[in-house]
Amino acid sequence: MNKITREKGQFKVVGTRVKRPDGIDKVTGRAQYGADLVVPGMLTGAILRSPHAHATINSIDTSEALALPGVKAVVTRADFAALDDDEMIDIADNCLARDKVLYHGHAVAGVAAKDAQTARKALKLIKVDYTPLPHVTDVDAAMKPGAPVVQSGRQEENVQPEHSENVTGYCEFGHGDVEAGFAKADHIIERDFKTAAAHQGYIEPHACLASMTNDGKADLWCCTQGQFNVRSLCSAILDMEASQLRVTASEIGGGFGGKTTVFIEPVALALSRKSGRPVKIVMTRDEVFRATGPTVSSSSTVKIGMTKDGRITAAHAKFRYQGGAFPCATYSFGAQAAFAAYDLEAVKSEGWNALTNRPKEAAYRAPGAPMAIYAVESVVDELTQHFGLDPLEVRLKNAARENTKAAYGPTFDQIGLVATLEAAQKHPHYSAPLGENQGRGVSCGFWFNFGGNTCVTMNLNDDGTVGITEGNPDIGGSRASISMMAAEELGIPYSDVRTIIADTSSLGHNDVTDGSRVTFAVGLATIEAARDAIRKMCGRVAKIWGIDEDAVIWEDGYAKPSGPNAGDFEPMSIKEIAAISSNTGGPIAGHYEVNADGAGVSFGVHLADVEVDPETGYTQVIRYTVFQDAGKAVHPDYVEGQMQGGAVQGIGWALNEEYIYGEDGVLQNAGFLDYRVPVASDLPEIDTVILEIPNPGHPYGVRGVGETSIVPPLAALSNAVSRAAGVRLHELPMSPPKILKAITDRG
C-alpha cells in the first residue's frame, strides 16, 4: 500500500539541517549517561567473572565475602527466578552463570558494597569450585564431530547429522535450478572466506543504577537501546510484574545494536532487592570486551557462475557463523541478505549456527549481513577481474529492481539500488586516476530494515508549542528527526517542538531501537499522532465556528474553512486554539499506536581507494565515497553521519579489528590498545551521496539508514586491497601481517 502523502518539493522542515537538541548538553558534559546518576545511600556493585573458557561450577561459597565489613549483598544465579522460556533462560544464564561457565569472563556472582575497593576485595573472597572442561572458540572446529560440546540439547531438527551438537540451527533460501545455472556459466569461481568477530566498540560502557524498595517497587536507570525490552527481561528474571519496574533510559554513548539486551541490570536489581539499597554497576572496558556481545565470526564458501558478458547464471553460498555460547539467529539474516542486490534466476543460500566458548553475540548494525555480503561481493569482483569487466557495469547488469524476486523470498517494491549504482558510476571518484600500489574497490550493501511496535503521544501546550513523548532512546538523532516530522505535519516551526524519551511507566510499549526502525516507525507514529491532534483541533474550531468538522481543514499551522461554502472565517492558529482549549473541551493531545510494517529496504554502494605499502602490508584508505538510498533524508546531517559512521566501523572491521583468542580460550586483546578501531587520523573524509527513492510504506517516504552503511565496506576494502596488492585476500581483518604474507607468497 502506498502511504506517501508528501512528495519531494513539498517539505518545509524535513530535509533541512536544524540544530540538534542534545548538542549543548553533550558538548558541555551536562548530558547524563548511564554512570552519571548518583543517589543517596547508593552501593557499588561488581561482578565476579569466570577465569576459565569452559568449566562446571561445582559450588560457590560467598560466606567470606559476606563477612567482609562494608559488603551488603552477594547474589548468584540462584537469586534469579525459575524461568521456562529457552530464550529467557539464555539471557539469565548470560547475566549470571547457572551450572557451567561458558566463556572466559562469564559472570558468576555479583557483590554490592559500600565502595568500589570493598566490592573488589569481596570478589576475591568468593570461592568458586570449578572443574575445567575442554573448550572451542573457532567456528569450523566447533562444527566438527567430536568438538567440545558447549551446550547440549540445543540443536534444531533440520540440522544435518554430520555436524557436532554445537550446530544449533540451519536455514536455506533461494530459488531456481542452481546446477543448471552453473552449466550456463562461462566461468565459475568458488572461494572460502573467514571474518573475525568485531565488537560494536561503543564509547560508553554498560552502566546502570537499580533501586528496589521493600514493597517490591523498583526503578532502573540504565544506558540501553530499549527501556521497554529491559523492563520485559528484568521483570521476568526478577519475577516482578512489569508495572512495578520503571525503567528510564539514560543518554547513550553509542549502542550499534550491542545495547539491545541486558547484562548487569538484573544483577543490580537482585543486589538492590537483597541489600535494600540502590546499587550502581559500571562495567570496565575489559568487561565490555570479554562479556558483552561482539558480532559473530564467520566461515563461508561462495560459488558464483558468470557469462563472459557479466551476467550471473547461478550462485550458491554456505555461511557458518558462531555467536558464542548461546544459540542465535544471525546466520539466517546473513543467508537472507547475501544476494539481495542481485536479480538471479538460480540461487541457493545456506546458513548454520554453531556454539563456541565465546561471549553471547549481540546485534551489531545489520547483524549477519556484512560478512555474508563480503564473501559474495568478493567473488563477484574476482569474476569481473577474470573477464576484464567494469565492476559497476556488472552490478548494474545483475541489479535487483522493482518486482525482482529476492533470493530470500519477497518481491521488491520500489528500491534504490540501480539509482545508487548509477550515482556511483557518474561520480568523479569512480573515474579518478589511481597511482602506484593503489586500488579501487566496489561493493553493494543491503539491509532489510524494520518497523515494529510503536507508540507516540503528542501534547499541545498552553502556548501552542508541542511536546512529543516517544519511547526509544535517541541513538542517531531521532529526537531531532521526530520533532522535524511533527513540525512538518503541524505546519509549525521546528523550534516549537520538543521531543522527550519517556520511561516505561509513561508510555505504551515500544520495541527496542533496532532494525533502523525509529526514524521510520516512530516518525510514522508521530505524523499520525499529529494528524490525530489536528483532527481534534479542527473539531474544536468547527464548534466555535458552528460548522461541520469536515468543513475545517488544516494548513500551515492554521485551521481554515475548507472553501467558500464552509463560510467566511478568519483562520485560527495553533497558538490561538491552544490558548482557548480549556473553553472548548480541555487539553488537546494526539496519540498513535501501531505495529508498523512497510519499512522499506535500503541499498548502498561504496567506493574505496586504498594504497598498500608493498614492503610492510600497511593499508591507507585514501578516498572513500558512500552512496545510499535514504528514502527521504529527514535531517541530512544525521543521515550523512550514519553513512559515515557505518563506513568507518566497516573499515575497522576490514582492516584491523578482531577478537584474538589464545590456545587457552582467553581473549587476548580486551582493550582499545590491541582491539584496533580506526582513529581519526587513519581515515580520509568519508564523502556521502544521499539518494532519495521514496519508501511507499511511510508518509514522507522515509527508509531506515542506520545499518546498510556498515555492510559494503568489508568487500569494498577487500576488493581495493586485492587490486592494489595484486593478490586476492579471503580473510578479515586484512591486518598488515596477512597482507604482507600474501604479497610475499605471491612473489
Binding site: T616, N656, R676, S681
Partner: protein, 287 residues
Amino acid sequence: MQFVTAQSTAEAARLLAESGGAARVLAGGTDLLVQMKSGMVEPATIIDIKKIPGMMEITEEDGGYRIGAGVPGQMLGEHAGVVALWPGVVEGCELIGSTQVQGRCTMVGNLCNASPAADSVPPMVAANAVARIEGPDGSRDVPVADIPAGPGKLNLKPGELITSIFLPARPKRASDAYLRFIPRTEMDIAVASAAVSLELAEDGSIAHARVALGAVGPKVALVEDAARAIEGTTLDDAALDALMAACRAACSPINDKRGTVEFRTQVAGVLAKRAALIAKDRAGEKQ
C-alpha cells in the same frame, strides 16, 4: 598507600631502598597510573620525583644535553637545541602516547617501563645516550643500551633511580631518525621499530653509524653488523640490502597478538632502511 614528594635524589633513593621493592617512582605517571587503575600493581609507596631540583630541566653540557627525568615529551619537542641535534630521539619520544599523554610522559619513564617496544629507547640507544643513576652507593653513569634486562626488567640495583639522560655532542654533519610500524596512525604500540644515527664524512659517505631495533627481541638491540653494513657507503642499494639483512639476522621476536615473527623480522629491516635514508638526508642538509 603512601605518597611522598621527594625533595632530593638522596631522599628518593633512600625511600626506594627502604621499601624493599614495594615503592614506585612517579614522574609523568602515564604508565604507573594506568597499571594501578587496572589492578596490575598496588604500590605501598609512590615517590614523586618532579620536585627534585633539575628533574624538569634540559641543560647544555659539553656540547650535548642533559635531560631531567621529569621532562615530558612536549617540552623536549619544543626545545630547539635538542631537536636540531637529536631529531630522531625527539621523534621517538614524541610518539609516546597521545597529545594529552605527551604533556606528562618522560623518556626515563619510557625506559624504566622496560618494554621492548618503547618508542624512545631505540633512538636513545642509537644516540649512545647515557643514563645517570642515583642510588644508595652514590651516582653512576650507564649507557642506555645497558639499562633494559628483558621485558619488565631493568639492570638497576635496589634503591637506584635514573635521574637524567645525557645526549652527547656530535659532529656537524650528523643526524638520526626513528621509525616504528603500527597498523594505525596513532594510539598504538610498535610492532617493530628502528633507529639509525649517522655521521657523514666529507665526501658524503657514512663515516659512522649506530642502528638499534625495537620490539623484535626481549630488549632493544644495538645491531653492530647493521652499522658496519652501511659505514663507508652512500646508502646505495647494495648497502641498504646488507643493512636490511643484518637487521633481520639480529631479530628474535615472538608471535603475538600484535604481529608474527615473520612480519616483525621483515618489517624491522624495511624500517631500518627507511630510517637510514631519512637520517642521511637530515645530516646532508646540515652543511
